[in-house]
């Protein structure tokens, strides 16, 4: 379509009234902040759950105050039971993967900045957008309800493998209503994510300002766009998978349960289903989900690096094509989660090869980031520290993937702490580093105030060093065969290594506590921070061409026209060493080039 033609009319009228402004808002910026808030609540809940797990693992008889009031059955006298450990684990994984890693880097920042960065007034479908948040919020409420029912949360892990997840109360505590709430919550979450993904795609394709060609889009916009394409296909598979799970549990169908199973001394009234069907459907979503979590952070980090280095990346095209290849390959690798599941062993080789191949675009990205640092003039602040930390973390989590991609090594390392270390580093922490970098970078724009830099830096140092101290030892424990998802280590060979687990627990408590510094910084700066100028980082992209915080319709009555790509750094501009995307001035190379 002709670029910019949709820009002629306001997408919606200025909001009036408290509800329209702050609750059921159609404004993509408010919705972005709502997603961010939800992710913030979820991440602190998830982190506290991980604290409880870590404490229980190394001090199994520890009495945890207040916990008894949450679940008198799960923690009688404040002491966590083995099954409650599994409940905490399931909720930790589910909250983190869905409500944090999908919401924060993608839905929250994407909603806020994608429209502004392409020069649009709002998303293509503002009402859909509002709906996708409130649907996601409902999914969160449904999931959290599991904590407050007598049955408690489910115990089958965030992967909810059938038949454990499909047969109801015979499978153990939490597997009756808790599990049903889980299935319902995730199904609702899928609907919210599908609506969001459609909206992102339509917005990117249709609402770009005049002159904003695809190749002139900032790299984070590219990442959100590619991520929405991945999300559209991934959640479209998880949704029916969850519906079939609910049908198996409540309508007497047998999609995932074969005949002849005796669970809790009861012959199950099912026949003809296959547990592998769930695994295939789940991982067909589950592996692309890893990239839904990490790609936006790759984009955000690239965006921030360019600004902090004061020079363009070696090649932004290569970054875009690498992200596209990762997105494409992410659909061919799900079987590497199932090497030992009993599927045909030949398919293990078929899934191993694309898994190894995905290392190529990932390495290209890493080398581009590294190589671009050469000869730069790197500005160190909280945002760039987290962006640089992301590169370090992404490499650390990436190389361990090389082990697990090989089926023969997976025979030994599958289901050990090696896997836990691997995915926490690459999809968990690396992705969160992108979110932290994004927060420190964009907070001035979102709130009109600067965050505290000393606090931000302190937060970085504790988090960066703490993360390595937590997750590197996990890899080592995996090498000795330490099995994951155990609430205590009863195996004889583990005795000499319990000290390592204690060390990890202590570091996890410290690193977790440092996240409250971040929370404090967010809240304090929101009200008391130094007022932010429109463009505190001397950046080139469109979000910095409007006031901080932006007005409801982003650009006021202005229709921005884009003249440059977003990488005009290290040049002689009228304002300094950069030229903004919507500045009509000619770019003059800096002397010495």
């Amino acid at each position: 379509m002709e670029e910019g033609s949709v820009q002629q009319a306001h997408v919606h009228a200025p909001p009036e009234g408290f509800l329209r402004k702050h609750v059921f808002s159609l404004d993509h910026k408010v919705i972005g902040k709502q997603y961010y808030g939800l992710a913030l609540v979820a991440v602190f809940t998830g982190m506290i759950l991980s604290w409880l797990m870590r404490i229980h693992m190394v001090w199994p008889t520890a009495k945890i105050p207040l916990l008894e009031h949450l679940s008198s059955a799960g923690a009688p006298g404040g002491v966590i039971t083995p099954e409650y450990y599994l409940s905490l684990m399931t909720m930790h994984g589910t909250l983190m993967v869905f409500f944090v890693l999908t919401n924060a880097p993608f839905a929250a920042f994407g909603n806020y900045f994608l429209p502004i960065q392409i020069g649009a007034e709002d998303m293509a479908f503002p009402r859909f957008n509002m709906m996708s948040f409130w649907v996601t919020f409902t999914a969160w409420v449904v999931l959290m309800l599991a904590f407050f029912i007598p049955d408690g949360p489910p115990i089958s892990g965030w992967t909810s493998y059938a038949p454990l997840s499909a047969v109801g109360k015979d499978a153990g505590p939490g597997m009756q209503y808790g599990m049903s709430l889980w299935g319902l919550s995730i199904a609702i979450f899928c609907i919210g994510s599908l609506l969001g993904a459609l909206n992102f795609i339509a917005t990117t394709l249709d609402l770009r300002a005049k002159g904003m060609t695809l190749m002139r889009m900032p790299l984070c916009t590219w990442a959100w766009f590619i991520t929405s394409c991945i999300a559209l296909l991934a959640f479209a598979v998880l949704l029916p998978a969850c519906i079939l799970l609910i049908l198996d549990r409540h309508a007497g169908t047998s999609f995932y349960v074969p005949g002849g199973l005796v669970i809790s001394d009861r012959l199950q009234p099912h026949s003809g289903g296959s547990p592998l069907l769930w695994q295939h459907l789940f991982w067909f979503f589950g592996h692309p989900e890893v990239y839904i979590a990490i790609l936006p952070s790759m984009g955000i980090v690239s965006h921030i690096l360019v600004n902090s280095m004061r020079k363009p990346l070696l090649s932004s095209k290569v970054v875009i094509y690498s992200m596209m290849s990762i997105g494409f390959l992410s659909y061919m690798v799900w079987g590497h989660h199932m090497f030992l599941s009993g599927m045909n062993p030949i398919s293990a080789l078929a899934f191993s090869f694309p898994t190894l191949t995905i290392t190529i675009p990932a390495t290209v990205l890493t080398l581009i980031w590294l190589g671009s640092l050469y000869g730069a003039n790197i500005q160190i602040n909280s945002a760039s520290l987290f962006a640089l930390g992301f590169i370090s973390m992404f490499v650390a989590g990436g190389v361990s993937g090389f082990f697990l991609a090989q089926p023969s090594i997976d025979i030994y390392l599958h289901a050990t702490y090696f896997v836990v270390g691997h995915f926490h580093m690459v999809m968990g922490v690396a992705s969160l580093f992108g979110v932290f970098a994004g927060t420190y970078f964009w907070f001035p724009k979102m709130s009109g105030r600067m965050m505290s830099e000393p606090l931000g830096k302190l937060h970085f140092w504790i988090t960066f060093i703490g993360t390595y101290c937590i997750f590197m030892p996990f890899h080592y424990l995996g090498l000795i065969g330490n099995v994951r998802r155990y609430q205590s280590f009863v195996d004889d060979f583990m005795a000499p290594y319990l000290g390592v687990h204690k060390f990890v627990t202590v570091v996890a408590l410290i690193t977790g506590a440092a996240q409250f510094l971040f929370l404090y910084n967010l809240i304090y700066s929101r009200f008391k921070g130094k007022p932010a100028p429109d463009n505190p980082w001397n950046a080139t992209t469109l979000e910095w061409s409007i006031p901080s915080p932006p007005p409801w319709n982003n650009f006021g009555d202005r229709h921005p026209i884009v003249y440059h790509d977003p990488f005009q750094y290290g040049v002689k501009g009228s304002k300094g060493d950069y030229v903004m995307q919507d500045s009509p001035e000619q770019v003059v190379p800096a002397s010495g080039d």
């Binding site: 493998y161 074969p258 592998l276 062993p345 191949t357 090989q406 025979i411 090498l479």
Partner: protein, 266 residues
Amino acid sequence: MGKLLAVVLVIIALASAYPIVTHMFPLPEDISTHGHAIDEQLNDTMWEAGISFVAAQLVLAFFVWSFTGRKEGSPLKNFPGGARVMVLGAFLLVGTEILALGVLGQKAWATVYFAPSKPGAIQIQAQAEQFAFYFRYPGADGKFGAVHPDKIDEGNQNYFGLDPANDVDARDDIVSGELVVPVDHEVQLLMHAKDVGHSFYVRELRIQQDFVPGLDLSVHFTATKIGRYEIVCTQLCGLGHYNMKAYLNVVSEADYEKWLKDQAAQ
């Protein structure tokens, strides 16, 4: 502060590599005939991944050290060769790694999964259930009795649901809570899940395989060292998952025959 980050990166790279280089976390002793291939593969990958990790962190540290806190207006430079070098480098480096490890290394997988068990292999059925393993030997007739899920009665120790009254094959079947196998003799484990998914993992044996309800799966192995080893469940199977374990008892051929006789007499 950039310099500090560089120093921390170097410390992280070296500290992460230290426990690996000094074998602080050794793999358990391998007691299988196929395990050395897996260990070799793991070792090769450790070298390649380890070098990549340390090198990347050091390069990151070096660039951060060199290119932060530069004087205002210092000239910007581009990496010689630009993106082309990076793309070529990634394809060559990782491409070679994929070929070396991915293709050549499938041998280990093939010995476990593609080579059929030898004709003389001992067949043992393994049943996984919440939260125990049971093992069944076919007895003198060499035939397993049929399994009837409706006849499973844990109270009477009929874990497999056998029907010895009507089924001749089932009468001499031996059921044990411990997996007893003769040393240096191939064993084929026929895997059967009674309730939900489980997994069979013996670290020393370098064997891990899921039990999948409704699927008849099997693995085969030869244990090469007499001793007692832990069998643990590695597929989350419910509240007692962490405590679901049994023992693999590798004994001499003579002790194995004696054990079978003793069990049959019971």
